[in-house]
Each structure stands twice: as structure tokens, then as C-alpha cells.
């Protein structure tokens, strides 16, 4: 796969995020500041705008620019967290111009790792990680792209739903402690949307 071919995936994510923008605002309003739908919308549409005219063929440099673009237009907490993810992917894919599934699997792992390192969040903390980590693991569990994405999608959904049983310890939601029980985390929902869009069922 070439960098140019990534456009369709980002387009799908952008569309799916946009469709769910009101839902994300609602989730973020419960214990955050309610901007999640807006910032994710901005972030992914800026990335799509950017990559359409991006001639970079090196996946490393490509994802580094995606990371910067995303952060510039969505410098919120989750926007920056996702930028950390792209940055991890960039480091992992440096020098690659024709990427195989295994390259992406490695890149997703590195992206997840970078996020965990920078945020200090782990599974169980009621954040995007609760959906992202199981999804990335599932994605790495098959050599077939369609199947990998299918597993990932399912794991992302489960992980997202599980967050309603958790108490937030990071971000604005952490001020509300026990009150966050019963509510789904907005960041985890974003992860779920991303994998749903990638699968494109």
C-alpha cells in the first residue's frame, strides 16, 4: 500500500466522525467541556484536506505531517493524544514507501505505546485507551486485513462499552470521580468510531 491509498481510510473516518459529532459533544458534555465533537471534526477534516495534496511517499514522514496537521487543528486533549498516536506510527514506519499489513500492525502498536507513555493512562482508567488497546491487540491478531479489522472493530466496541463501568482518573472527567460511573467515555467512543470506519462494513 502507498501513502496515496490512505486517503480513502481517512475519508471514511472523517465522515463517520462528522456523523457522530453531536453524539461526541453530548458524551463530552457530561463530565468534560463538550468540545469533543467539534475538535475531532476539525482534526480529521484538516487531515483529509492536507493529505489530498500531500505528495510524500515515505510513510514515516507522511504520518509525522499527519500528526502535526491533526494537532494544529485539534489541539485539545484527545486531539493531542491522537497526534501522539500518529507520531508513534511515524517513527515506526520511517523509510517505508510500500506498506504491508504487518507494517501497519507494528505502527499501531507503536502509536498506542507513545500515547500510553505520554499520558500515563492505562486500561481501566476510563479513557480512549480502554477501547484503543484491545482494538490494536485484536488488529494484530490476524494476517488477513479484513479479518484483522473485523476483530479490531469488535474489540474497540467492547472496550468502549466497558468504560461505562469505570471511574475516570484522567482529564476533566476525573474531577467527577464516582459520578462518571454509568457513562461512556467520549475518547473511547472516538476510538470505536475510527475502527468502525476502517472496517467499513
Amino acid at each position: 500500500m502507498k501513502t496515496k491509498e490512505c486517503i480513502q481510510y481517512f475519508e471514511r473516518i472523517k465522515t463517520e466522525i462528522h456523523k457522530n459529532s453531536a453524539k461526541l459533544v453530548e458524551l463530552d458534555q457530561a463530565f468534560g467541556d463538550g468540545d469533543l465533537g467539534i475538535s475531532m471534526d476539525q482534526g480529521f477534516s484538516s487531515v483529509v484536506e492536507f493529505i489530498k495534496s500531500c505528495e510524500e511517499e515515505d510513510f514515516g514522514k507522511y504520518f509525522m505531517q499527519v500528526s502535526k496537521t491533526f494537532n494544529e487543528s485539534a489541539p485539545s486533549s484527545l486531539g493531542t493524544i491522537i497526534s501522539f498516536g500518529f507520531m508513534g506510527m511515524a517513527k515506526s514506519m520511517k523509510g517505508i514507501t510500500d506498506a504491508k499489513l504487518s507494517d501497519f500492525q507494528e505502527a499501531f502498536k507503536k502509536g498506542l505505546e507513545n500515547i500510553k507513555e505520554k499520558t500515563g493512562a492505562k486500561v481501566g482508567d476510563k479513557t480512549i485507551i480502554d477501547s484503543l488497546e484491545p482494538a490494536v491487540n485484536a488488529f494484530c491478531g490476524s494476517g488477513n486485513q479484513k479479518e484483522a479489522l473485523h476483530f479490531a472493530n469488535e474489540a474497540a466496541k467492547n472496550g468502549m462499552e466497558e468504560t461505562s463501568k469505570l471511574i475516570a482518573v484522567h482529564g476533566r472527567a476525573a474531577y467527577h470521580k464516582e459520578k462518571t460511573l454509568g457513562h461512556i467515555d467520549g475518547g473511547a467512543y472516538v476510538s470505536y468510531i475510527i475502527f468502525k470506519a476502517l472496517l467499513n462494513d
Binding site: D35, K68, P75, S83, Y175
Partner: protein
């Protein structure tokens, strides 16, 4: 939406353009980018530690208003109540370094923290030393000091760091004294009415008639409790007691009090609160010096106020008194 603006999307840019037009001799945009403000003399900058901050718009005079002599060297801002991006912060840090390193001094909010983490990592490649100090003065936001939000107390932090840098402290020393100051700074606020983020167009929360939200954050983060509006003296007493529980004020202590209006609360009311605070201090034989009373850190048109107490030792008092001058802040008329 009762606001005087053009399009909500242009609000932040037009605000900064207005500021730069008004105070040309004092501040300017960095790289003609309205998201970064530096002192007008940035190019021939002094040989001293740089002090920068960053955060969301909608809090004037915080943050832009504190770029000035004896205060901040630069500031990056995001949209209303939103962090600027890491690349702006990185550009700003580079522009404010004179070789002695840069202190990143900002409020403890997720977006700002993550972006500063990314930015400081980025400038490390250029061999710029940075140190980060987080403002966590809002006692209502958590029991855990490190998890607290940064609110009006950051104004005192800017003042202390700015003066220390001006006096030739090293980066480590500036960071140390600023942290020491922050250990002795506590704030608590109340909100009486909401504010409106221009791009949202309607209040993101409400405070019922006859009610006040005690401990509400400056972006409308939920407070400790919703109470009936109380008398000014009772409110002053309540906040003073909560803060005193942490600062342990004792006879002959010296403090500076910041009674801060959040936006829509008349200045008159802030003085009614200050009056009671002085009375409470007198009863403990605590003396109040260099009070700051007015709008120092706002949430646009939110009604309400916060009270910050800064317990002073000799060093902090000296730094607080040290001259400071920005278009929005000076202490030369306060004592």
C-alpha cells in the same frame, strides 16, 4: 447570544489584532501569527530566563495581558477555552529563549499539558532548556494538590516568575521560586451565571436564579455544591476558612489577596468581599499587603468571583513588589 463580535470563527484573531493595534510599542505577534504574542522588543531580548505561558482564549487579561516587563516574554493562545497546538508553543519557546532556557508556566489542564509535553520535546532537539511549572491553585477541584486546576492564582505565579527572571535567577532558580510561591497560593471561586463560548452560541451550563455554584471552574467545570446565594460576608468567610485550612495562616503572617471578578460581577462587589477578608485577617493578626482587586482572570461574561490568598515570605514579597508593566497589568499604582 448577547455578544459584540463579527463571526465567532474570527473572534480570537480579531481580539489579538485589536490588542496589537492598541499597544504597538509593547507587544506584537510572533511571525505575524495571532496565536503567539511576544514583547515588542523580542528581537533584542535581554539575557535572562524566558517565561512563557499558553492556554485558551476568553480569560483576558489572562493570558495575553501578562506579556510585558517583569512578567511574561510570550504567550500562545488557542480558541476560546481550548489549548493552542504544540507547534505554536514550540515556536514561542524558541522565540523567547536567550540561551538561558525557558520556563513554561501554565494551568493544569489536559490539552495544555499534552501540547506543552509535545512542544518541549520538540525544542529539546534545538538544545533549548525548558522547565515546566503547572499552576494548581484551585482548591475546589481536587483534594490532591497535583490534580487541581489552575485558576486566578496563576497571575501571582506570572508575577513571581517574571520578577525572578528579570533579577537574573537561573532557569532552575526561577522554577524553584515559582513552585515555592505556588505552594503558598490557593484559590476558590463561585459562579453566579454562565458564559457563552462564541462558536457554541449558548451557555454550556446554567446556574438557577437565587443560586451560586461554589467551586465552579473557569470554563464551567462543575463545582463542589450548588448553594443559595449567600451574603458577601458569609462567602468571604467560607472561602477564607477553606483556604486557611491549607495555608495555616498564623499571627504576623503576611498575605496578598486577589479578589478576582469573573466577568460580569461589578467591581463594587469585589470590594465588599475584600472588606470582610481584611476583617477576618485582622482577627488572626494576619496583615494584608498589595491587594489585587479587579478582573485579573475572567471567563468572558460569567458572573462570579474568586478569592486567591498568597502567603508571602520575604523573597516572594520582594518579587511581588518588583516593578511589572504590561498594557493590562502594573503594580506601580497598587501601593
Amino acid at each position: 447570544m448577547k455578544k459584540i463580535l463579527n463571526s465567532p470563527q474570527d473572534f480570537v484573531r480579531e481580539t489579538v489584532e485589536g490588542i496589537c493595534l492598541a499597544y504597538q510599542g509593547q507587544v506584537k505577534m510572533l511571525n505575524d501569527d495571532f496565536r503567539m504574542l511576544v514583547r515588542a522588543d523580542n528581537s533584542r531580548k535581554k539575557d535572562k530566563v524566558g517565561i512563557v505561558t499558553a492556554g485558551g482564549s476568553g480569560h483576558l487579561p489572562v493570558f495575553l495581558g501578562y506579556v510585558g516587563e517583569g512578567l511574561l516574554d510570550g504567550c500562545a493562545i488557542g480558541d476560546v477555552f481550548a489549548s493552542p497546538s504544540a507547534s505554536k508553543m514550540a515556536d514561542l519557546i524558541r522565540a523567547c529563549d536567550s540561551g538561558k532556557g525557558v520556563l513554561c508556566l501554565y494551568g493544569n489542564y489536559g490539552g495544555d499539558k499534552m501540547n506543552f509535553a509535545m512542544a518541549t520535546e520538540e525544542v529539546e532537539f534545538d538544545d533549548i532548556k525548558t522547565s515546566s511549572v503547572l499552576v494548581t491553585d484551585d482548591i475546589a477541584s481536587s483534594e490532591d494538590f497535583a490534580k487541581r486546576r489552575g485558576v486566578a492564582g496563576m497571575v501571582y505565579a506570572f508575577k513571581i516568575a517574571g520578577a525572578a527572571a528579570e533579577l537574573g535567577y537561573s532557569l532552575e532558580e526561577v522554577a524553584t521560586i515559582t513552585k515555592k510561591a505556588l505552594e503558598n497560593i490557593r484559590t476558590m471561586g463561585v459562579a453566579l451565571s454562565p458564559c457563552i463560548v462564541p462558536t457554541v452560541g449558548e451557555p454550556t451550563f446554567t446556574v438557577d436564579e437565587g443560586k451560586m455554584e461554589i467551586g465552579m471552574g473557569i470554563h464551567g467545570e462543575a463545582g463542589i455544591e450548588i448553594a443559595d446565594i449567600m451574603k458577601a460576608d458569609d462567602l468571604a468567610q467560607l472561602i477564607f476558612t477553606k483556604i486557611d485550612r491549607e495555608l495555616h495562616l498564623k499571627s504576623e503572617d503576611k498575605i496578598s489577596v486577589l479578589v478576582n471578578g469573573l466577568g460580569a460581577t461589578p467591581l463594587e462587589e469585589l470590594f465588599v468581599l475584600y472588606r470582610k477578608l481584611v476583617e477576618l485577617c485582622k482577627s488572626k493578626n494576619v496583615s494584608c499587603v498589595l491587594p489585587h482587586i479587579g478582573e485579573y482572570a475572567t471567563s468572558m461574561e460569567m458572573a462570579g468571583c474568586s478569592i486567591t490568598i498568597f502567603k508571602l515570605d520575604d523573597e516572594c514579597l520582594k518579587l511581588l513588589e518588583y516593578p511589572a508593566l504590561s498594557p493590562f497589568y502594573t503594580n506601580n499604582n497598587l501601593f
